[in-house]
């Protein structure tokens, strides 16, 4: 579908699509734009710190005990760290609202939407395996 679009800033279809997508990403309607952006950054940074500490704890736990649950959880937390870091980077640099980078941000969101649930599946598998060992 996106290959049919002429990716320039005058394209109304692209503009409407970007606007709707940014609304979904940042939730800017309903609160003031500045207000919601502060929440997006704040929650992103807090999430990044929590996920990073989770990754470190789980890697250390795996090194210590060699339990696969820690390895799978470390994969999930590491993927979360990478995804959140890229998301924040895109937000700060304004790429989400730039039509020239529409495809890059679009594929990033798609990849994030598939990779994070799959790493979550690994973690669930780790929980299941541990409890049935």
């Amino acid at each position: 579908m996106f290959n049919d679009l002429n990716l320039n800033s005058n394209n109304k279809q692209v503009k409407a699509s970007l606007s709707r997508r940014n609304t979904l990403i940042t939730g800017e309607i309903g609160g003031g734009h500045m207000e919601s952006m502060v929440w997006v950054y704040l929650s992103g940074v807090i999430f990044l710190i929590i996920a990073l500490s989770g990754a470190i704890i789980c890697i250390r736990g795996f090194k210590k005990s060699r339990r696969y649950l820690f390895a799978y959880a470390a994969i999930y937390f590491s993927a979360s760290v990478i995804a959140t870091a890229i998301f924040l980077l895109f937000q700060v640099s304004g790429l989400f609202s730039n039509p020239d980078y529409f495809m890059i941000t679009h594929y990033f969101i798609l990849a994030e939407g598939y990779i994070l649930p799959l790493t979550l599946v690994l973690m669930i598998w780790g929980f299941f395996r541990e409890s049935h060992a």
Binding site: R20, T23, L24, G27, I29, G30, G31, S36, W39, S43, I46, F47, I50, A51, S53, G54, I57, C58, R60, G61, K64, S65, L69, F70, A73, F77, G113, Y114, P117, L120, V121, M123, I124, F127, F128, E130, S131
Partner: protein, 103 residues
Amino acid sequence: MLLSIYNFLITYLTPIIYVVGFVVCFACYRKIKQKVYLYATFFFAVNILQLWQRPFVHYYTYPYSETYLSVSFYVNLGLMFLSLIAMGLLVWGFYLEAEGKAN
């Protein structure tokens, strides 16, 4: 056939994973009374709650429902804080496991 499987996965993959995670972790917690399973159950429950908006996502397109948008903003804000707490608890659970203080 393949396209319908693909569409099914796109729409339902994440909710299915969250529900499976919730059920698995809750069942594991009932079996082995360890805190990390309880925190993981809470984590998946919050993730399921965050999907509440999916059936109403068409309100974001024209015609806008201003009431819905302002209500959903604050509900999402609350759920966002709840998800941060859930994630923190999950990490805390893993810390307890790693340090051998789980019970």
